[in-house]
């Protein structure tokens, strides 16, 4: 018997142990997998099936046809996209300077500012929405203050419309933009900026040609997260929109609560899921999560 042959049983044994190990680790993930399968995959799959069932109980595309033909549905899609895009743009316009500012501070001060970003992040969504309702309504804080200071004579309608919805949503979405963006900006090598300025770039030019492009992955990640979250948003538009801003999620809910029409609700849900899926897929191709360099 050669030495090589003698080692073989040993090798086989090791492989057996490795296979057992892999099985153990996979086994540990099973409860999680089971939960997700039972509570997301199966129910959502069932909704997918329901979306192809017409009013008479047979297979049909009527739920999807309605979405293309009905003016009400088209308006809902337009509203959903309009609110989502506006919220995303405003978040970027407000969040970018703040994230940039924080990335320039020392770690200690940046962490203190970070508390300012995290407090709203962990405050209940309902509390924040309610607070905006208090601030923005006709006899609310802002209107009263503006009248007392003589800026306006009549209260302005700030809530129960698109304006109110946008204000509330931007406030709620801002942390989702700032967190990945800030992590990305922190990871940018500051020496690149020194190099740019030693080569004669003005601060403005150094920012636009060096810093800004390097911050794009974080910005993009933030934008996509905010946009996707906006698409499925329910609570804030329901309260601050006052019934005038109807987004997809609210239509899904009213389809079930008021009309018991599971087919219509499911079809809208499937469209929402597919759009979300496509955006997240693009996002995962554009930015890998490790690239955000939060560690």
């Amino acid at each position: 018997m050669t030495i090589a042959e003698m080692e073989k049983p040993n090798e086989r044994g090791l492989q057996q142990v490795a296979a057992n190990e892999r099985l153990t680790f996979f086994g540990l993930t099973l409860p999680y997998l089971l939960m997700v399968t039972a509570l997301i995959v199966v129910p959502v799959g069932w909704l997918f099936y329901l979306s192809f069932i017409g009013r008479d109980g047979s297979f049909s595309f009527e739920n999807y046809e309605r979405m293309v033909k009905s003016k009400a549905y088209i308006r809902i899609f337009l509203t959903t996209f309009k609110i989502s895009i506006l919220t995303t743009i405003i978040c970027a316009a407000i969040g970018y300077p703040l994230a940039y500012f924080m990335s320039q501070l020392s770690r200690k001060w940046a962490n203190i500012c970070m508390i300012g970003v995290l407090i709203p992040f962990w405050t209940s969504l309902l509390v924040r929405t309610y607070a905006w309702l208090v601030l923005l309504q006709k006899k609310g804080l802002l209107n009263n203050m503006a009248i007392e200071m003589g800026i306006i004579s009549e209260p302005i309608k700030l809530v129960h419309n698109t304006t109110g919805t946008l204000i509330g949503m931007v406030h709620i979405m801002l942390p989702f933009l700032i967190l990945p963006l800030y992590a990305n900006m922190r990871a940018i090598d500051k020496d690149t900026l020194k190099a740019a300025s030693s080569l004669g770039a003005t601060p403005t030019r150094a920012f636009w040609t060096v810093f800004f492009p390097l911050s794009l992955p974080g910005l993009l990640a933030g934008l996509l997260i905010v946009f996707v979250l906006c698409l499925g948003f329910y609570v804030t538009p329901a309260i601050l929109g006052g019934g005038k801003v109807i987004m997809a999620a609210m239509k899904i809910s009213s389809n079930i609560e008021l009309y018991f029409s599971w087919g219509a609700a499911s079809a809208l849900g499937v469209v929402l899921l597919v759009v979300t899926g496509i955006i997240l897929f693009i996002a995962s191709k554009l930015v890998s999560m490790d690239q955000l360099g939060n560690r």
Partner: protein, 281 residues
Amino acid sequence: MSFLNKNVSETQIRLKNRLWLYILSYLILFLLIVPSLVVIPMSFSASQYLEFPPREWSLRWYENYFFAWKVENGFNDWMQATWTSVKVAILTIFVATPIGTMAAYGLVNSNSRLGKILFPIFISPMMVPVILVAIGLFYFFVQFKLVGSILGLVLGHSLVAMPLVLIIVFSALKNYDMNQEKVARSLGATRFRAFREITLPQIKFSIISASLIAFLTSFDEIIISLFVAGGDNSTITRSMFLALRDQIDPTIAAISTILIVISSGLLIIVQLIGNKENKKD
């Protein structure tokens, strides 16, 4: 005003040239923090109408929350809803934390190919629009008579809390040297014992943070509760949402104040735990 000419960045920009950035940033931070806090003075107002600052102070809205057992609208019994929320949130910790931790441990140790397949599936509860999860669960739970039950709520809330637990524990384990377990096992410990005595003490703060976040996620959850809760088991957020849709009851300001205290308290604990864990390294 010499400090205005101080260099404040690598590109030798002077403070006065970017004073606007400082002012703008502090303004944004102000707008992020202060609006939520406005509910605190409102909750101590004696008036039924929202005036700021309140002309008279009182605790009537807190009394209303703690002692008014039946509000006229019929659907809210604040205290009972609060207990339901607390019960569900505590049970969610005990479901989401072990399941999430086990999965994180499994994922960290398994080969990257399996991880690449499983990870997106595992964070799907965060990615799928919540409204879809909610109506899916509603439909599913109707078949098993789980609508309006504590169990249904715990399952639904655990589903959304698990990805957060997974991510927190996963990143803690990533920074942890698994070879320490190998050492323990080569000295004769079983895998479970090696985990319990070597790994667990070193990642315990992350697990505690994760469970607090699971608690808060469940406590603040609205949409799943809207569909799955019902009957005697309404949650506090569900009752608040239903009340808010109709009118502005200052009792909600009192409840909001309590919620702000709870969530900032938990956030501070999580941050302190984080500092402790970081200091160790």
